[in-house]
């Protein structure tokens, strides 16, 4: 996957992961991909709901040593 930007939101509590994701997505062009790292467990449901409501694509997510990783394509 071609990743255009990586956002490190590890250690940040809700709502900061989404606040930072929104800011990072704003700086991308439509079709570009943002990779997000977070340790906030609640981010999984919130990021997918946020992406959906904003018209972005959550391409995939995985968990690695309690770090959640997400890939979102800007819509």
């Amino acid at each position: 996957m071609n990743v255009d930007k990586v956002l490190d939101a590890k250690g940040l509590a809700c709502p900061m992961p989404i606040v930072k994701t929104k800011k990072a997505i704003n700086e991308l062009e439509a079709g570009q991909v943002l990779e997000i790292h977070t340790t906030d467990k609640g981010a999984k449901n919130d990021l997918s709901a946020w992406a959906k409501s904003g018209g972005h694509d959550l391409l995939k997510h995985e968990e690695e040593n309690s770090v959640l990783k997400f890939w979102i394509k800007k819509g």
């Binding site: 809700c14 709502p15 989404i18 606040v19 919130d46 709901a49 409501s53």
Partner: protein
């Protein structure tokens, strides 16, 4: 402007007193629909916080000016953010301190009765999750039944009334919440009682609780009489305390009955459940006060916030006790069951001592309502 925190205890009082409260829940829609703060006169608006990052102007007209407003989220961070935005827009609002995480862990002790020989029985209402646990106190000694993992609350309460915890019971192996029974027993040197048929796979020492057995609390000899009543689990055991209170565990609730499927044995246990509810309980005095291990809906709360009812009244009014036909009963408790509690398999394994998740993981496993009942 700074916004004020509202504690879970304050919200609980509003539920008990049937006060009006407008809740702006800023969690995502799925989490809100799955589980929320329930109050008879509470109103709700669910707008996820991530839809409010650019401002709250668009929702201002949906928020009443004549009602107290509480902003709620999962852990409190997002609710503070939204509450501050509303406050800047001129509204007076509070946020739920600790969020739904704290809400899930709040226990409210309510006295439910006096014992004949002196002493009291207290119900600990876990208002956010619908779990009920009990402390029987007599002459400086206390017994706990179906304690939650918030063990300090019981230990502090016992200390505050000058009682020493000597016996700890679980009516069955719980699937919806993590038991605090073993930890409390270890800390207080109390005896930990479990029904042996539910404890086949446990990894720790316990005293086998058998039907017909009696345990005495305090010098005044308060009797805890065990009554084998399988059906929710194969070992489920009820207690009759002081010949007056029937602690029904997850077999019988106020407006519902236990579900038989949480250990994967629905078909096998339907007959047990029916036998317990329709034969064994029928042989008991209708004057007994039923004290269950759960409530499911807020309407089951009495005026003082406690959950209890006479057995005779339940025989007359509880739908699950009034199904003549065995096949209809089988259908009720095996078809169209509500979703199973979150992480119920892991919770069972934790209660067996097979896995030892940390507190953060335990919180996450217990998220959501209890869902142990069928109506």
């Amino acid at each position: 402007m700074t916004v004020k925190p509202m504690t879970s205890k304050e919200v609980t009082k509003k539920i008990f007193n049937k006060e009006v409260l407008f809740i702006l829940d800023v969690r995502n829609e799925g989490d809100f629909q799955d589980w929320k703060i329930e109050g008879e006169n509470f109103e709700y608006l669910n707008i996820p916080y991530f839809d409010l990052l650019d401002g709250v102007e668009e929702i201002l007209e949906q928020i009443p000016s004549d009602k107290e407003i509480l902003v709620v989220c999962a852990k409190e961070g997002s609710s503070i953010m939204v509450a501050e935005m509303l406050s800047e827009a001129g509204l007076t609002v509070s946020y739920l301190q600790g969020g739904m995480k704290a809400w899930s862990e709040h226990l409210e002790p309510v006295k439910v009765g006096d014992l004949k020989g002196g002493g009291e029985i207290y119900q600990f209402v876990r208002i956010g999750k619908g779990c009920l646990s009990y402390m029987v106190v007599s002459n400086g000694e206390a017994a706990l039944i179906d304690a939650t993992r918030m063990t300090d609350i019981y230990l502090d309460y016992a200390a505050s009334i000058g009682a020493r915890i000597t016996h700890v019971f679980d009516t069955h192996l719980h699937a919806d919440h993590i038991s605090g029974g073993r930890v409390i027993a270890e800390k207080t040197n109390a005896t930990y009682w479990l029904p042996p048929k539910d404890a086949a796979e446990v990894t720790f020492e316990y005293s086998p609780l058998e039907g017909g057995g009696d345990v005495k609390i305090g010098e005044t000899m308060i009797n805890i009489h065990a009554l084998y009543s399988p059906g929710h689990t194969v070992g489920s055991t009820s207690f009759i305390v002081d010949e007056n209170f029937l602690l029904s565990g997850d077999i019988l609730f106020i407006d519902s009955i236990g579900r038989p499927d949480l250990a994967g044995m629905a078909e096998d246990w339907v007959a047990d459940l029916r036998e317990s509810l329709y034969k064994r309980y029928r042989e008991l005095s209708e004057e007994l006060i039923v004290l269950p291990a759960h409530f499911m809906i807020i309407e089951e709360l009495n005026e003082d916030g406690s959950v209890s009812e006479k057995l005779g009244t339940l025989f007359a009014k509880n739908h699950g006790l009034n199904i003549e036909d065995e096949n209809d009963f089988r259908k009720l408790v095996t078809d169209n069951l509500p979703p199973q509690p979150n992480a119920y398999q892991e919770i069972r394994e934790t209660n067996m001592g097979k896995i030892n998740p940390d507190v953060e993981k335990q919180r996450e496993m217990e998220i959501g309502p209890n869902r142990c009942a069928v109506r």
